[in-house]
Structures are given as C-alpha cells and as structure tokens.
C-alpha cells in the first residue's frame, strides 16, 4: 500500500507561471517531508523540506505547504523556469523512528518557454 502518493505523473506549465506539485500521505506518523528534484541521467538532489510543526517553508522560488489535517503537501514554484523541468519526488518519514524515507512515484514537470 502506497504511503506517499503523487497522483499526477506529469504537469506542463508555461514559463513565468506558477507550478504546483501535489503529494498526499496516508501514514499519520510521518512528521517530516522533503522534496527532491531529478534530472535525467543524474541522481535526485534535495530541494526543500518541512517539519510537521510548520505549515509553510520557503526557499527562494520554492515554497512547500503542509496541511496536516488533510495529510497533504504541495510544492509551489514561482516563477517557473525552463530549468525547473525535471521529475519531482515527494518523500516522508517519521523523524524519531530513524526509518528510511518513503518516496512517492514522482511528477514530471515540463516548463514550456
């Protein structure tokens, strides 16, 4: 049973507009969430994270929102740039459990110039 779900396999957005990538989780014990970005033929790289004690974390053009009651998080990219075209993975874990990250299946973002 998938504990972290990214229900949109792909997303296309025009350059300069907002990209919103969504992620849902089922395990209420998860309390730390991360987004990774992956270009073809490269390993994923860490993008941004959020702890369950917060509902928003911002880093430049990237903002992650967490809605604990809905078990939902989203990554906003504003403004989107062609270099943002990549696969984005949502991941979650239990901070105190020292258990590995659980990844979603990823969303491929295409930013069209």
């Amino acid at each position: 049973d998938q504990q972290v779900k990214q229900n949109s396999p792909s997303l296309s957005v025009q350059e300069g507009r907002i990209s919103i990538l969504n992620c849902d989780y089922t395990n209420s014990m998860f309390d730390y969430f991360l987004w990774y970005k992956k270009y073809p033929a490269e390993g994923p790289t860490f993008l941004i994270s959020i702890s369950s004690i917060k509902d928003k974390n911002e880093d430049g053009r990237f903002t992650v929102f967490l809605n604990k009651s809905a078990k939902h998080l989203s990554l906003h990219i504003v403004p989107s740039q062609p270099g943002d075209s990549a696969v984005y993975f949502c991941a979650a874990l239990r901070f105190t459990g020292n258990t590995p990250l659980v990844f979603g299946k990823g969303t491929r973002l295409s930013v069209i110039a």
Partner: protein, 113 residues
C-alpha cells in the same frame, strides 16, 4: 561538497551473471541506501545500512544482497541477474539522523539481457 560515486554509469550483463554495483561516499556518512528507479514506480528502497557491517531490508530486497565492510563503501549484489532487474540503480548516503538530507550518486543504468 558531498560526493557519492557509483562504479559504473552503464552496465550490460547476461541473465544468471553475478553483478556487483559499488557505491562510495566521501563525507563520513553513517547511513547508506540502495534504490532502484523504474518508470511509473518511482524510487524503491532495496537495502540500507546505518553502520558498518549492518544492513536492513528495504521494500524490495528479493534477489539482492548488500555488503558494507567499510563505512564509505556500500555494495549491492545481484546474485543471479534476471531481466526484471533491468533498472536504474541509485545509491545515497546521509549523515546521521533519519531526517538528514540524503545525497545521491549519479546512478547506474543496468541492462540484463
């Protein structure tokens, strides 16, 4: 800068061969992980290790084994390669706590004929 290196970028093997995938990290990280990435399935954890000579099964350990004799090196072994093990294999490492950022290697694209 953290560096995670994988022994090969591309590998072609025959069914039944024993395959070794090597991963080395240079940041004295405690934790190391092996994933495989397949289209539509995202990142799936095969094995991980929190210390030298320790190993834990991930979500899909069948058909694989691992070895961690030294802190910086984590090897993935396919005892008898099969065509359904054709995949992108990604190694990652992290410092200590579960929430510490995982740093990924560039991946090994393995094809089993």
């Amino acid at each position: 800068d953290v560096k995670v290196t994988q022994s090969s970028r591309y590998l072609v093997k025959r069914t039944g061969e024993k395959v070794f995938l090597e991963c080395v990290q240079d940041m004295d990280h405690e934790n190391m992980f092996w994933y495989r990435q397949d289209p539509g399935l995202g990142l799936r954890l095969i094995y991980f290790s929190y210390d030298v000579k320790m190993k834990e099964k991930g979500d899909i350990p069948e058909g694989y084994s691992v070895s961690r004799e030294k802190k910086e090196r984590f090897s993935l072994i396919l005892e008898s390669a099969s065509t359904n093990q054709t995949s992108m294999y990604l190694c990652a490492s992290s410092f200590g706590g579960a929430a510490d950022t995982q740093y990924f290697g560039p991946g090994t694209r393995l094809t089993v004929l």
